[in-house]
Symmetry: C2
Subunit: 279 residues, 2 copies
Amino acid sequence: MTKHQLFNNIVKKQSFLCIGLDTDIKKIPVHLLKEEDPIFSFNKTVIDVTQQYCVAYKPNTAFYEATGISGLISLKKTVKYIRKNYPEQFIIADAKRGDIGNTSKMYARSVFDHADTDYDAITINPYMGEDSIRPFLVYPNKWVILLVLTSNKGSHDFQLATCSTGEYLFEKVLQKSQTWATDEQMMYVIGATQVKMLTNIRKTIPNHFLLVPGIGTQGGNLKNVAKYGINSHCGLLVNSSRQIIYADFSKKFAEAASQEAQKIQSEMAKYLARYIHLE
Amino acid sequence: MTKHQLFNNIVKKQSFLCIGLDTDIKKIPVHLLKEEDPIFSFNKTVIDVTQQYCVAYKPNTAFYEATGISGLISLKKTVKYIRKNYPEQFIIADAKRGDIGNTSKMYARSVFDHADTDYDAITINPYMGEDSIRPFLVYPNKWVILLVLTSNKGSHDFQLATCSTGEYLFEKVLQKSQTWATDEQMMYVIGATQVKMLTNIRKTIPNHFLLVPGIGTQGGNLKNVAKYGINSHCGLLVNSSRQIIYADFSKKFAEAASQEAQKIQSEMAKYLARYIHLE
């Protein structure tokens, strides 16, 4: 998907919501455990009732790897289901991969060069530097979403360490990585809990899309993320996972998830009207 | 496995060799492609002919993910095969994972809490900080192997950035992470191409095991790694992948792999005698 297509979808749906499919077999409604593939059944239902309110889905691979091969089959079915039924959705493999060039090539193959797992984007950890990212950039219209400043407490350990040249490490990652790819191929993860940094971040990267996790359960605030993060092409994909998919644990989980997604979408529509002036 | 048990295996086998099972379906001998599970057949043969010369195996998950579900089944069979037939081998999931605490817990479950994938250790990327690592440390006798200073060119991008406090970023990672776990639970990845740094690294962490990739194809030198890296409990697992498993591409690949592993083991025996004085 191109940046232009993504922006068009955002305008059409009046939403920049990304739904995190962090599906934990221990948390889904018990009545689903009777199904042949409970994880896929849960995902399919959540997708069907939320797709009109979002522009992206982001399964986090950890949740599927946790149940071994069967979990990975559920993941594969989920990605195929979205691709087939809602082809306008932007699908992100939240995998936080990264290895030496020779090995990153294999990870790139696994997400971008496989009929079963046709993702639009993958999240990548920058610690190993340029050659760990390059192999993901050779696929046309596929995206690398680089971890820059994450939403968790541990972001203070290294990402917010100050370099001898005066900037934070995460700023060095931002600056350096801009020489590797344009805003048509790279996005950045900025946690919603780091909203204080957004104004400065936008000075460095005015045009890039940001993937913003951490609203809801993690404490980030959508209003401020929109205020300081939106650019002329929206430039935001704000993720919500638990708040939507675990809005309810009973048989009414689908309605609850749908309502929660709609609530966020309505709020997003307000911010789009407020901060973007479409001709 | 405890540190003591690992050291005993090293002494018994006179080897601190770890063999990287970076098995690429495009590189294995063509006659194996007729087998039902070519990747597993290849691994099984390599393991059978090299196990006497090494103390650890390190499958890199990227190579298995690259072929989708079938690759992950081959990986699972490989780990089970090693565990069953050579229980003294230390098995490392070279997965370079790391996510927010809630998600890292899922990754930890996938490698340490699963009958099919009973690894001893996993490689972890430190960029997201302490809470991304903690969930892996709750499993007794299981290890976190933290990426510190990798063997690739990209290590210069951020790992070798200087902090305002004067040290390199990788040194900050070393220092900080020592407060999270002891040398009975944590090891560090130091690339063999970074041997110049080893003396200083040993001043900071005299007792930890280091996992050292990058000898052979990547240009690192075993002699210098041993000279500057060995401590009183050996403290090294030196990895070789391509040099061993792809020593030959014909029907003679097994003999070639075995000879290559033996050659490295003999050299290691010399260094163990030279640098460790056993009572």
